[in-house]
């Protein structure tokens, strides 16, 4: 099962080698998430409109290894932006990927940039 998560490693802005073009910004629901396909990876992307920020992370939830995080609800807890998995409501920081209400492994995070209204996700390969 761990094979599913092992494919996902946090990428820092400085490590980006490919900026993958996803879609126009207006195609993303406001304050919601969608799932993006990149090679054989599934990436969840959130348009946190209320904060004016974007976040991307692995779509697979480390709890039961289901491809569902993009369908989760976003919000904040003590100022930390987070996503709640739709399955059992495990929550993860959208800044560090850390599991906020348990000790699951952190989820992998990816940088997002928006240029000329186009949304890109950064990958190292």
């Amino acid at each position: 099962m761990d094979v599913l998560t092992s494919a996902y490693k946090t990428v820092k802005e400085s490590e980006v080698n490919v900026w993958f073009e996803v879609a126009k910004a207006e195609d993303f629901p406001k304050d919601g998430g969608v799932c993006v396909k990149y090679k054989d990876k599934q990436i969840a992307v959130y348009n946190f409109t209320r904060k004016g920020t974007w976040y991307a992370c692995q779509n697979v939830c480390p709890h039961k290894m289901e491809m569902v995080l993009s369908r989760g609800m976003i919000g904040d807890e003590n100022g930390i932006p987070k996503v709640a998995c739709p399955m059992h409501k495990k929550t993860f920081s959208l800044e560090t990927g850390e599991n906020l209400n348990g000790d699951l492994d952190a989820i992998a995070m990816y940088p997002v940039k928006v240029e000329n209204n186009i949304v890109y996700i950064g990958f190292s390969e």
Partner: protein
Amino acid sequence: MKSVLVIGNGMVGYKFCEKFVANQVDGNYKLTVFGEEPRPAYDRVHLSEFFENQDAKKLELAPRNWYEENKIELITGERVSAIQRDLKKIQTSSGKEYTYDYLVLATGSLPFVPPIDGVNKEGVFVYRTIEDLEGMLAYAGKLKQEKPEAKAAVLGGGLLGLEAAKAVMDMGLEPHVVEFAPKLMPRQLDNRGSNVLKLKLESLGINIHLNKATSKILGNGSIEGMQFGEDDALETDMLVISAGIRPRDELAKSCNLEMGTRGGIVVNNKMQTSDPSIFAIGEVALYNQMIYGLVAPGYEMADIAVEQIIGDPDKQMTEDIDMSTKLKLIGVDVASFGEPFMPAEKGHSILFENKTKHLYKRINVSHDGQKLLGGILIGDASDYNMLHQIYLNGMDLPENVEDLILGARSGGESSFGSAMSLPDTAQICSCENVLKQDICGGLLEGKTCNLKDVMAETKAATGCGGCKPMVTELVNETLKSLGQEVKETICEHFEYTRQELYGILKVKKVHTFDEALEACGKGHGCEVCKPLIASILASLYNDTANKEEVIQDSNDKFLANIQRNGTYSVVPRIPGGEITPEKLIVIGEVAKEYDLYTKITGGQRIDLFGAELHQLPAIWKTLIDAGFESGHAYGKSLRTVKSCVGSTWCRYGMDESVSFAIELEDRYKGLRSPHKLKGGVSGCIRECAEARGKDFGVIAVEGGWNLYVCGNGGATPKHALLLAEQIDNETCIKYLDRFLMYYIRTAAPLMRTAAWLDKLEGGIEQLKQVVVNDSLNIADELEQEMEQLVDAYECEWKQIVEDEQLQGRFKHFINSEDSDDNLVFVPMREQKMPKAW
């Protein structure tokens, strides 16, 4: 600076640290703690919860950085291997040495493993640490794959053994308890109690074997069975040993501290061992010739030891240790307190036994009938806290002592009074030794202002949690006495109750989540307040879940229930359970086309499981074209109105129950509410529609319908109560409109109608006043609000099917038409199911 070393970072060792930190004023002491286990101290009492979530962090008593913040050096994964008393020095297994001024032994105990032939075989476990549980889970998982009907035995029918039996049952293994004694929980229960408990456990599927002396563990490498007598054996694939504990006193023994004849480090009432600079606390300490296998005495020992070193050296350990216990086994109430057996020369016993209901209660009362000396409760321990308090505080007993276990049989008043009637010095939380005055005093002085504060400040209810209902009652009653209302606010973003928020959003005409945050909230919301506000907005305006999809709970967002593998189920509405053959064929065709697992639900309709997200709009298009509507199986909203066939066909029917059920289901479909709503209509009092098990139930009688409200099945079943009798269809709908609207306005989030009625002051009589007699003068308003909601109804799936733009959110990927390739199904009977995790 003086050095204090604590050996053992278990529950009691941790408590020592906590109390030490709280008492230390001058920072003259350096505290170092050694723990053999890999992680910081955790809550062993709630160890079994690990099976539910496998979340070790949840059990942690304090995170690692708590130790750092309090300047405690915590060294885990390291065993202390020797003590040199003459040099005041200890040595660890990796060869490090530390000197001490004071040494505290909190090494706890080990499970006792009887020297039975073959006990080292694979598949034999003990039940003490997280690692033990991980081992059991892995083994059980493997067993289940090889052998679906695998069995697991537990050796020992005590408190812990029964907890272990429940755990193996939850793992899907067939549970067996093997006990040497002729009764269960031999230390706490009498024979009658044991017999009743045995019946109850057997009815839950736990097999009990008493009077069995295990002589051999059978099997070749791994366990296959247990041998008792000559030709008496039990086949089993796994064994958990829970046959008592042995203090871990080997360190003390090797440095010649005084020991008990059967082990344990002898301590005095100041927790000092025979060496005054060495203390022993917890399950390793032998106090009054006894090892106490409970946390509460251990915590008190920790307190006394701290006082010896940095506090009041005159403080002494209580003489009589209270050994009262309540079993945490879910599904069976068992408690014993004070002296459970009691010889006849000390007093009399009052017994109540009802084997058909698996109930047994015994209280032991002094000869003069004035004082409670102890007792046993099986099947219903709801009065344990109060009886335990009466016993502990030596309170006077009521004139009819039997009322204590039978309940007052006239008037219906409780025979106890409330927790507020306890003396100020009553010990409410025995784990943390918190008195009533500690709880109420802080509130009265304004130092604390709610349950959370009180728990943080006094630590009450943070141990085993058994006293929590009583602490909650004390907090609520004290706040009430101060004229404050007790409120349960929603989350960090909205400091209101649901009822308040409902009022605010209505008055301020708020229509979106952002407006709500602006009007009365802060931050950006979360998974608690977003769906709650979505539900209130829907109840106010009957906007469908498509209006603002990102604040809907995950099921509402996709208008379908998410399943264990991330696929969805499809439940079309089948009002009253009535369906034409044509529609049945359409459902069958859809199921075939998309290869969906098909099942008749408990709600008289059909559920199609295993649809992928992107398939939902197409599936629903076919269904809607055939005349179906959303069944709202995913929403906190009306589910079904169940019907029986009624007077059109049934020879006993008094009225047309199907017609009326359909009328009611059509009226309230799509109605969003604090929790789901279910209804039922039966054609006569034989009640084939189980209407009284629903939030609202209608039963045809001579001269009209009887209307019942606030029932449910589920986890806490309740029969609905009579609201009005012999009314016609129109009156029934009028009352239902008022009742439902009143509930929607005032209930807390996720509170079914039965729980709501429980909380409603005045109960069903008050509800009758409001709904039937319009005592609050709001009936017109309630009816109008309901009328508006009924008029505003739209099928939300129809909206999706007709609007291509709305279908966008059902694509798995935003940038590809591919579907989720992570899904795997396996065949089951003639259909399929998700591959197990």
